[in-house]
Structure formats: structure tokens, C-alpha cells
Amino acid sequence: MLFPTIDFAIFFGVVFVGNWLLSRSPAKWKLFILATSYIFYAWYDWRFIFLLVASTVINAAAGQRIFQSGSQLVRRRVLTGAIVADLGLLGFFKYFDFGAATVDNLIHDVGLHSMPMPLLNITEPVGISFFTFMAISYIVDIYHRKLEPSSFADFAVYLSFFPHLLSGPIVRGSELLPQIGRSARRNPREIDFPEAAVLIFGGLFKKVVLSSYVSSAIVLPVFSSPGVHSGPEILLAAYGYAVQIYCDFSGYTDIAIGCALLLGFQFPQNFNSPYAARSIQDFWRRWHMTLSFWLRDYLYIPLGGNRGSRAFTYRNIMITMLLGGLWHGAAWTFVIWGAIHGVAQCAGHWRRDRRIVRGLPAQSNRPAAIWLQRLVTFHIVCFGWIFFDAPTLNNAFTMVNRLLTTWGDPAPLVRFPVIFVIVFALSMQFIPKQWIASAKEVFARMTVVAKAATLAATLLMITTLGPPGVAPFIYYKF
């Protein structure tokens, strides 16, 4: 069930009513939310439910055991076992065929003709990357005594809560479980509707209008057949993909956060004008923030972070970014994408260290320098997107090659409407937050009818400017 569909609107309407009618009865509320979340998940494929149930049972039990055991050895073993189980499930469903194909090609490339590796043609369950990471954060936080285990029901609701289930944000136990525990104290008369409306309708506009248009106008034609497109088209397609993935993913998370808000729950922010970043390190403080902070807290820091030599720090950065790339998909293109970001981060660290040694600030803060930093960072990110979206490494290298060598060829896909939409979408990164706050205040003071009319007009604009049909969100396949 995709967010921007009538099906979801009807589903959410039912959940909204049930959520608030049952809010004073925690047991009934939890049962209701659990049932509706599982229905939401089963809408894609009912078989996936068993995976979600298995993950819930394993991690709930592990959390209790880790908390209750007085033996450090037992605690560590249970934690390790649960993480292995979580990553095992993720690895099996997501990476088995990729691994088998890779090994087979390697054997083939070295000239050894062997029996083909078995391929299982496994269907990857939607959302598995997201709820696996949520489960791991839960048990690790319990291990480090940052969190106490919750009841099985609370944990089941936490893991399966439908707004975040398919494509995040990756909400930590410490962020959502206390809210679930206090669910009876949510006030049905104190819902921040303007905030939720801006998030939901803004998200719809980004996804349905901006992302869809750019995808069909430039990204899809160029990325699927780069060999017949020229340098300017490939450059515009890279910019276009930057817009497409941002609008698609941030649009989805905005809708998820807005829906959670309407149900009385606060989700963490997931995007903060990422293309205004001044360095790749800054980019990862603004892009998919919940994943970025998860990788920092549960991978980078446990590896040692920056608490060693420079080489040690660079090693940890590269491992984190390579695995972060692989998280996105079972393909070498994602690994290369992660490597690009890792190398860029290491280069950024090195440059900052050199400037500090010379008595300069880590980054120049002159206005011209700030814009140059943004421009360079944006282009590094776009270069990475070429690998991220290319179906194969060959396609990616073809794009890079043609980007550098075919500037004289005709570029019929480079048209004003596409350029306008891309520039418009990128400029949204720099809208002053005060303007958005003011718009919310204006909306808040409208009458009921005016609010309804405004939202209806927005919805009409979205459906009129957007294409017919609904393409799935990019990130739900992760």
C-alpha cells in the first residue's frame, strides 16, 4: 500500500479514528495498531509477516535476556547471537543471490569452469533493512544500559508501527518506546495539524510532482541508455537524479513523520536541506539522518571512531561508508557509491586537519567560500549518484565516460522545463525556515472551511501536475 494512493487514505482514515477512540485504553490501542500495521505490511505480500514476527520475537526475547542476566559473558553472547540472527535474515533475503552471482563470476573470470552457484531467486521483503536496524539498535542500547526492555506488546508495536515500517525513518527504541509507553497520555485535542499538513502535502508534492517529472523527463531515459546520450544530457540527468531521490525519499519520510504526528507520535527529522551541505561530512549530517546517526553510533564508534591515528580513523570511515553503501542494495554500484563518499569524507578530514595545523579555521566561512564548498560537495554527491542509480557498473562507467567526452553531441533532452524544475527543487533547500514557520501560522489561523479548501487546492495541484499512476518510492526497495 503506497502512501500517495486512495487505498492508503482510506486505511489511514480508519486508523486515525481508531487510534484516538482507543487512546485511553492502552491494551486495546496496542492491539489495534499492531493489527493495522500488520495489515499494512501484508498488503505487499502476506508471507513477509512471518519475517516481521520472527524478528520481533527474537529481539524482544534477546532484550529481556540481556537485561536480566547478571553475567557479562551471557549478555555478550545473547547480544552477538541476536545480531547474527538479525543480520543473517537480512543477509539471506537481500544478499544471497548477489553473493552467489558474484562468486560465480569471479570463478568464471579466473578461468575456472565450475558448477554454477545455486541461485534461489529470493524475493526481498520490503522494509527489511529498516526494521532490522531498528531491532539491532534496541538490543544494543539495552546491552549498554541506555534503555530498559519494554513489554513484548510495546516492542511489537515499536518494530511494526506502519508509518516507519517500509522506508524509515530508523527510529530508535529510546525515541519511540517511551512514547508508546505513554500512549494513553496523548491528548486528542492537541495535535499540531499545520505541521502534519505541511509535512504530508509537501511530501506528496515532492514525490508525485517533482520526483516523477524529473524521473520520466531526464533520469530514466539517460540512465537506462547512457550510450545514446551526450555529456550535457548525462550531467543534467545526474542533477536530475539528485532531485529525484531527494524529493522521493524526503517526500516519503515527510509523509511518514506527518502521519505519525497525526497519531500523536514524534518521529525524528530525517533530512535537513542536504544539498546545502558544505562538505561530505556535513552532507551526512543532513541526508537520511537516522541512518547516518545509526551508522555512526552502532558501527563507526564501536570500530573506534576517530579515537586513534589518522589512518585508523580513515579505515573506520571507509568501512562504515562501504557497509552503508551495501545496505542500500546488493550490487557493486552501491559499494562504489559508498566508497566515493568514504574517500570524500577522508579527504575532507585531511583537509580540515591541515587547515587547523596551519592555524586556520576548519573551513573558511567567507560567503564566496561557503558557496564554493556547497558547489563542490553537491557535485561530489551527484557523481556518487551516477553509481547509485546505474543498473550496472558498466552503465555507470559509460555515463562517466560520455560525461567527459561527448559535450559536442546533440542534447535534445536538455530542455527548459526540466532545467527549471531541477533548479526549483534545488532552490527549495534554501527556503528560510522562518517562511515555512510563517506559512504554518497562517494556515493555523484559517477557519475549518478555509483549511479544507487550501488542502483540497493543494491536492488538486498535485494530482493535476503529477503523472497518472503511482510509481513506488525509491527507498522502499531497500
Binding site: 543471490d97 541461485l119 485535542r189 520520466s216 531515459p221 483549511k451 479544507a452 493535476t464
Partner: protein, 351 residues
Amino acid sequence: MTLATSRSRSNRRNPRLSSAGQILGICVLCFGIWLFLDARQLYQSALTSPLGARRTVAVAIVHPIARVEEFLGVDRLDNAVNRVTGKTGTPGGSAIAPTVTTPTAPPIAHHGRHPAKSTIPKSSKPPGATRIAQPSPAHVLTVLDIGDSIGEDLGAGLADKLGNVPDVKLINDSVGDTGLANLGYYNWIAELPTQIAKYHPQAVVVMLGGNDGQAFQQGNTVVQFGTPLWHKIYEARVAELMAEATHAGTRAIWVGLPLVGPSADLSNSDIEAQNAVYAAAARANPAVTFVSTQRLFENSAGLYSTYLSIAGQGLVQVRDADEVHIDPPGGTDLIGSYVVKKMEQAWHIKL
């Protein structure tokens, strides 16, 4: 002061906060207004869904509202915006008109917008009914590719293979979500002659059927998929489309559907049955060649596989995660090369 008064005063102090009941009322009103203003597009969307209770309810709700909207002239705003944005109302999720791939000319612009200058001389006429000349500067071979979303996959493969072939112009005009079952949504039988008259192709490549495993309406009767009547009507439509594809003297290649995976929405037995229909209709039309892709995507065990071992490339992903569509570039390369070879064999030309 009671708690209710306190809360009420709190809300009055903070206009940002609303009650759940108020929000519900606003949303119901919002959807009601939107439903009225956008009824025509919603009606078209309802028509795209397969026949069944859901479609019946959706059409029953939206159609009367759409008629009122049309009567009051409210849909003119929608039409005006479509014209300004260049949307043709082409179903299938794409606002982009056919793309033309040729090594010498730029792609043709969108339907309804400013068409690029055609590279086809105005005096050119389609060649003789059955023979396709070897492509040359004097005889540019124009190939029109039509179909559904799998047809789009084939189109991508053909574009890769033919994009750099001199004197060949490929026009990709496939439209997702279409077929021959739901002609109310998109009528290929009516559309194809228009495309042929516009592009004057010497050849048409057809690949569709993935969306045809559904019931359709014939007059007031619902004809269920798989019944003898369904087959009879479907066979007639396939034959009619083939006739439209070839009556202007063009040759046609009809590409059969590949087998699908176990998680796909389609079944392989249905696909086999549809392919049998296409093959039989092609045998009855001498200008049409049926190309089966059933074995093209089998693994060595004769079964569906997302990956195939391809000579010189090792294991390559050829099918999409949905186990229906063809994955670029591995799969589209495979089918593109295969169909181009079949075109060469059928028309005795070298591409």
C-alpha cells in the same frame, strides 16, 4: 477551572493545536472538494483497474461526480493545465511522448507540444507491402515499437542495439499498463493507425499482453479471463491489431511474452496460452512474424531465473525484482539482440 476549560483555553491560546475531530472534519471536507474538482481524472484512473467489485464501486462513485463536473465546466481547468504542461493524458504513468532513437536525428518532441522538425522527407511513402529494403541513406528503415511496460523494456533493448545503426530510426511508443483486454483505458487498435500515419514506419514491433490476464466488458457482459468466449474475443482483437499493423504495407514482428517467476502476478500457463494466440494469429497474417521469447529467459533447468549465465559475461541479472519485467541492461540487451536478429532473419536484411 475544569480540565476541559483549561484545555479549551490552551487551544485558544495556541491556534496550532487542533482536535482529532476537527482534523477529521477538515480532511473529509478536503477530500470531498478534491473529489468534485478532480473527478474526471479519478474516473479515468478507476477505468484502468481490472474488472471487479473495486472497480465497480469506484466507477459508481466517481462517474456521476465526473459528469456533474463536466456539466458545470469545472474540468476545463484540468484540460487547460494539461495543455500547458504538455500532458496528453496518455495513461500508463508517463507524461512523455514517444522517443525516437536515430544516430542522425534528434528525438521527436512530445505529443501536443512543439514537434521537432521531422527528418522524413514529406514525399516519402511506405514501401511495398511485404519487402523491407536493406537500410541505406535512400531507404531509412523506420521501426515503430509499441506495447505495454514489457514493451518498454524491449524498446530500451532495441534502442541500445539500433541506436548506432546507420539509416535506422526507432520510435519507442510503448505505454505502460496497456494491452488488448481493457480497450476502454487505452485502445491500441484505434491508436496504432494514428501512429502509423504519423511516422510511416516500414516495420512495427509489438510486445504486449502482460496486462491482459483480466476480464473485460463486452457490451453489458463481463467476459471472465480464460473462458472460451474470452479467448475468442481476445484472438479477434489480436488479429485486428495485426491487421492494423500491416494494412499500410508494413511488416510486423510480434514478440511473445517471456516466462515469469513464481512470485509474479501472472502465471506461466496463462502466458503460454496468450503466446499461443499470438503465434496462431501471426500464422494467419503473412506480413507478421511471431518471435517467441519463452526459452530466451530460461535457465539450464528450463525454469525462470532472475540471473542467467550469458556467454562471455558470466551471471547477469536479466529480470526485475517483480519477476515480470526485464532488467536493464542485462535483460534488455539480451532481448534486444535477440529480436534484432529475428528482424534480420524475417526481413532478409543486415542491421
